[in-house]
């Protein structure tokens, strides 16, 4: 037997999935173990192995691919305990980082923090000014050298930073993405003066227009570099001790995986990769194919993440925001808000109305019903009081929930509003459902899509409780809890389903008509570099797939559209089609008649995505049987609140693990799984398909 394993480390839990040759999925869920996350990694993997009936050593010996989603780099940013970085910039432009184009004061902050002037400040600098050195050198917008690099000056700058204790060096010069010669020379000098130090250049990491974003990227890369490299080395060592000799692959925010050595060099690519695996899974897995375009939602304890899959591919964004710093690397477009099971319910003193989140009770103290000392009411308390959660079967019975504590907490906000605990719970649930629907609306409508054209995947521990409600608010046809209980470890499954991916890109600012030969050569260079790397990784030539893109916009305008550049030789016909495709894509995104043709078309960047396809085990299917579920799958009834009928009624309670393909569960019903719970209201029905997806539809949407 051989296996593919995926492990995803989250803030609270570490999840593992093991896929065997028969297409069966085995789950393992264990507590995360900060700061030594590798402990949780091996615990979860061992647990999943146990579920598959093998020891950890056997599992690792027989594993062909081990893929891993980690928040190690993200945590370094959150806790601001990265390396001491020395930054080297062009003379006269040292302040590019501290100035943050001004917007850094508010980027990524909530609207409440944005409107109040004193409520947001620029973040703690990743590199203090005393660790930034300027060097005489200058290249202009055409890539021509205006001022030669002052090598002696550069050496002195490096020495000073080295003596001041720099553990990592970041180099970012103006226009280096057009002409990297000075950056590369200074990298050499760093390697001579401070051998072994982590060093990163903006032209190699993010060869893109915009010096602030490039500098932020390279500074962050250096900041998280040494500790991420350490973590990956420790992990690789431990794996080889346990008998796993193949490479470890890391989920990157662009929606693929990188081998550990690449990730150690450019750990920036791992930042924000947390929710990416889940979106990738929805794009990759055969079991998701029949649902068409998908909105992937993930509701955990503290946040609600949303991404899109359109035409079988995740939607990408070109901007990342980390600690209010912004940089440009293509990532799977995921938006988040602080709506989760732990979101706190409170009263706004201005309007006297009820509000939910964004503050969360987190894992500690957690919701009031956890009985860990949390007194403030949360969405999980509301779900308990409304009868959706089973106090004796939470997380498969691991934690007993305290109904009395939940009621008391809800009364603390309900009574001042003249509401009982139950009424407060209904109110809070409605509010949080609307918040989630609003976020989805923002992610779709602002990007030119309508949610009614999507199926909604509901992943994460808390999603099944709310899925049907926000789905109905959006007018989407169905909510899917993918692969039943596996939905709760969806990110780990996502990691296991990722392909190797190298994104190569460069700025190329040109007005149409474009120079055919230049474009062919530029794409050729990018493709050759990625192809070479994939072959080195052992990917067979026929498993390599390269797609090309050009970012284009109208002259004098700001909206740029990433336009696919067809495969094959770059000739006149292809260039003509490229222009037409751009115009069509522009109108689709921004509306009819919005193209400013008279200003001409300008290219700003070219990019390739080179994929090394990984083997995907075929997921096990079960033939559809009788629509009536087996009788013993129903374990009783429970009084719970029907959102549509607005009343407490008896819900049938089903053991989800005993439902079979083809079974239909008519609401009102609650389907309990070990790690998640699905609420089926009176007007809803749930169907189990041959993969084990739980598909929920509402009467009027069917």
């Amino acid at each position: 037997m051989s296996y593919v394993c995926g492990v995803d480390i989250g803030g609270t839990f570490t999840d593992a999935v093991v896929l065997d040759e028969g297409g069966r999925i085995h789950l393992g869920k264990r507590s995360s173990t900060p700061p030594n996350f590798e402990q949780g990694f091996f615990d979860a993997l061992e647990a999943a192995g146990e579920a598959a009936g093998v020891t950890l050593a056997r599992l690792l010996a027989d594993t062909t691919h081990l893929l891993h989603g980690t928040t190690v780099a993200t945590n370094l940013m959150v806790q601001m305990n990265g390396a001491k970085v020395g930054l080297i910039t062009t003379r006269g432009h040292r302040d590019v980082l501290p100035m943050m184009r001004s917007i850094g004061r508010v980027r990524g902050r909530s609207v409440e923090e944005i409107v109040r002037l004193s409520a947001s400040r620029k973040p703690t600098p990743i590199v203090p000014r005393s660790m930034i050195e300027e060097v005489d050198e200058r290249i202009d917008s055409k890539g021509e050298i205006v001022v030669e690099l002052d090598e002696e000056g550069a050496q002195a700058a490096i020495r000073r930073l080295h003596e001041a204790g720099a553990e990592a060096f970041a180099i970012s010069f103006l226009w280096s993405f057009i002409n990297p010669v000075h950056e590369l020379r200074v990298r050499r000098l760093v390697e001579e003066i401070a051998p072994g130090a982590f060093v990163t250049t903006s032209s190699e990491l993010v060869p893109k227009w915009g010096e602030y974003e490039r500098t932020a990227a390279v500074a962050i890369n250096a900041f998280v570099g040494p500790a991420t490299a350490d973590y990956l080395n420790r992990m690789s060592r431990r794996l080889s001790e346990l008998g796993y000799a193949r490479p470890l692959y890391l989920v990157e925010s662009a929606g693929g995986v990188l081998p550990a050595d690449s990730a150690a060099k450019d750990p920036l690519l791992l930042l924000g990769s947390g929710p990416v695996g889940g979106v990738t899974a929805a794009a990759q897995l055969e079991s998701a194919k029949e649902f068409g375009d998908i909105i992937v939602t993930d509701m955990g304890g503290t946040s609600f993440d949303v991404g899109l899959v359109v035409d079988g591919r995740p939607r990408y964004a070109n901007t990342s925001i980390v600690n209010q710093y912004e940089y440009f690397i293509p990532i799977v477009d995921v938006e988040s808000i602080g709506s989760g099971g732990g979101s706190i319910i409170w009263i706004d003193s201005v309007s006297g109305g009820m509000r939910v989140g964004p503050r969360s009770a987190g894992a500690r103290p957690g919701p009031a019903c956890y009985g860990r000392g949390g007194g403030e009411p949360t969405i999980s308390d509301a779900n308990l009081v409304l009868g959706y959660l089973n106090p004796e079967f939470f997380l498969g019975g691991v934690l007993d929930l305290d109904v009395g504590a939940a009621v008391a907490a809800l009364e603390s906000v309900g009574v001042p509003l003249g509401m009982s605990a139950e009424e407060a719970a209904v109110a809070a649930t409605r509010i949080v459902n609307h918040q989630m629907a609003d976020l989805i609306r923002k992610l779709t409508i602002e990007r030119g899509f309508h949610p009614r054209d999507f199926s909604i995947f509901s992943c994460g521990g808390a999603a099944g409780l709310h899925a049907m409600e926000y789905t109905a608010l959006l007018g989407s046809p169905r909510a899917v809890v993918p692969l039943g209980d596996t939905a709760s470890v969806w990110s780990a499954l996502g990691a296991a389903s990722c392909d190797l991916l190298y994104v190569r890109e460069r700025s190329l600012i040109r007005m149409a008509p474009f120079d055919r030969a230049e474009l062919a050569e530029s794409f050729g260079d990018l493709e050759a570099s990625a192809r070479e790397r994939l072959l080195e990784d052992g990917v067979a030539g026929e498993d390599i797939e390269v797609t090309r893109f050009a970012d284009m916009k109208y002259g004098g305008q700001v909206n740029s559209v990433s336009t696919p550049v067809g495969s094959g030789a770059i000739d006149a016909a292809l260039l003509e089609r490229l222009g037409d495709d751009f115009e069509a894509a522009y109108e689709r995104l921004y509306g009819k008649g919005t193209g400013h043709r008279k200003a001409g078309i300008e290219m700003t960047e070219i990019r390739i995505r080179a994929i090394g396809r990984q083997p995907k085990p075929e997921l096990a299917r079960e033939l559809r049987s009788d629509p009536s579920p087996p009788e013993d799958a129903m374990v009783g009834t429970r009084r719970a609140w029907d959102m549509v009928g607005s009343a407490f009624v008896d819900f049938d309670v089903w053991r989800g693990s005993q439902l079979r393909a083809g079974n239909i569960v008519q609401g009102p019903a609650i389907v309990e799984l070990a790690e998640t719970t699905v609420v089926v209201h009176g007007v809803d029905r749930l169907t189990v398909d041959e993969f084990g997806n739980f598909v929920c539809e509402r009467e009027d949407q069917r």
Binding site: H93, M99, S102, V111, R129, S141, S351, M354
Partner: protein, 760 residues
Amino acid sequence: MSKWDGVNECYVPGPQITIDPSVKLHTVADAEIDPVTYEVIRSSLWNINAEAGEIITRVSGSPIAQYAHDLNTVLLTEDAEYLYTGPYNLNLAVVIDLAVKWILEFRSTDPGIAEGDIFLSTDPFVGASHVTDTVMASPIFVDGEIFGWAASSFHQYDMGGSAPGGYSPDARDRFEEADPIPPVKIVEGEGRVRRDLLEWYLRKSRTPELLELDLRSQIAGCNYSKTRVLSLVEAYGAGTVKAAMRKILDDGERAFVKRLEHVPEGRWSCRGYLESAEPGDREVYTTVLNIHKQEGRLVIDQEGTSPQTGVLSISYAAWRAGVMAPLVRLLCDDTIYALGGALRRLEFKPLAGSLMCASHPAATGNPGIGICQAGSLATVALSRMLSTVEDPDQDIFATAGTSIYPISALTGVDAAGNYFGTIHMEPMAGGLGAFRDGDGQDTGGTVYDALALAPNVEYSEQYFPILFLYRRELPGSGGAGRFRGGNSGVFAYMPHRAEVIDHYTATSGMAVPTSLGLWGGHPGATNRDLVRRGTDVEERLRSGTIPQRLDELSGETEYVPPKERDVLQHPSDVWEVRWAAGGGFGDPLERAPEAVLHDVLNESLEAEDSAALYGVVIADGALDEAATASRRDEMRTARLAGREGEAPPVATGEAIVHLGPTLSLLRDGAAVTLACRSCGADLGPLAGWKERAIVLTESVEAANPEIDEPSVYVDAPIEFHTYHCRGCGRSLDSEVTAGLDSPLDDIAIGAESSDSASIE
């Protein structure tokens, strides 16, 4: 008919507006709304309006929207009260209610207002910030009645007139600027754009294609909001949505009144100056803002402001918008800008024919001067007023940098033969004013735009034929104080691949600082444009060094006046721009020495200024505590040396109000007296107190290392005064004056002091 009809005088709606009976307003709201439905509708309305702004930005593709954020969207009730304004430029938002009220008054009969209509206006006399800001407003009809309005305001690159971009430094009246358009119905019925009006509109501009795209983006924004509001009406019923709208306003009003609850009755004033009404003019002009707190409302007037002149004037709508920007930040932050409720409690009393409320036919094309000035004065007056509220959750702050936008435009033809034209956007990174409990953020943004964004150097160098030598934060530019103002910045560039660049300037705040401090805080840096002529910059670059200061270069430095046309820059000329920084808060001698040390080590302050401004002695990168203590003692003693006579006695009585961190009013029986909050010294009656204090006066350049001698620009002396306690020497307050102006009696407490001029 009032004379304030938007024709010869600016439009100022009366308490009731007259609407043609053919137009019906939807006014029926459910009596009750459950709190959850309310919360859902409230947050939907906020999101709808914010998303409409995103749509405008996206559809237009305009760099003005993307980089300068010069737009805003609003949702209004049927009778044009604000529900929400978007998180964009407030100066553009708080004019739209006026435009819509005017439409209801003057367009409801002819051509009438019907479903699907969209009105367009650029008339500052009616309700636009200036003549290149296009307001578009669309009624939202439910069952044949106007239920509300969806509207936006958006700065256009060019609308004609003598100066490309519209910031004319020398227009003598409005006939030498782009001509304003009073509201016209550009879209009639369901989405049909009137072709005749469209072509007439586009014909005005140097960039008609961009104008058309922007117009279409605003139509898309209106339509988006309209559709979404109607879907709320469909889901919840018109009466329920209207009840939510009413509650947003009522809550906003209640919240506003509550914020004013602990403010005593009284008047707070601020005076500032603008210089140079046209090229060659060396005069200084006065602007005043008075805020009267009266029984849960604020009355705001401009008594004391100079008559309109040259290019310094703005309209009533622009003045009111300028005042509202800091007011919203200070008093509507807890309702995310639901300023409609606050406006019910505000009364604006303009002075016809003044700099801050022009009469026909004054030029009003430079809102970067006038609106910004109104905002700066309002920041100070409101923050002083709110200083009486000793609640740390109540923000107060000194004036933010970019207190007058340093409009410095460049145009020309590059080496490839392409026309270019732009104004610098770097000053969007203003240094924020100091807070009551913390420093202003360096290069942190502006008060009027919550999402202020400065461009990359690589953006400017890609599209304009220039090469930057440096762009950096400017140490010490923020006003000194117990909490210092945020630093602004400076940049310099040379022509690169162009033979000549043609500049014009249309700004102020070069001679007189406009970022004022609070309670003894110093003003922030002034705006400045310098050009170093005939330098060796090209040889210097060839030899491998990049000059970092103008005076490292050969040649002569010229100061560019605040209003000038056709200042030419050749390849050997280096142009440098400095933009205004934030004002300080409190006495600089009270700043924690560690904070001063941190600033010096962080290169936010030059070491030499630490001793001069703060009395903090730093040697070899460390604090010399003993030397600092004795230096500060010396400075305090020097202040007291200016005292005539003995120290005053300690005042007796109960504090009836703290005016701020330095002053209290005490009552002892029938007597009311002002007292120093540090030593308790009796400072006598509030009126005229500054003249009885120890007054230290210096020319204004002594207040901040980044303020120049005013005589470069103007003839009148510009002075910085600090007013010190006659008991302990503490700095109680500070002020900038021009010419022979005496200190302003800027606070009066009690109902009798709050009489204000009434509007005719």
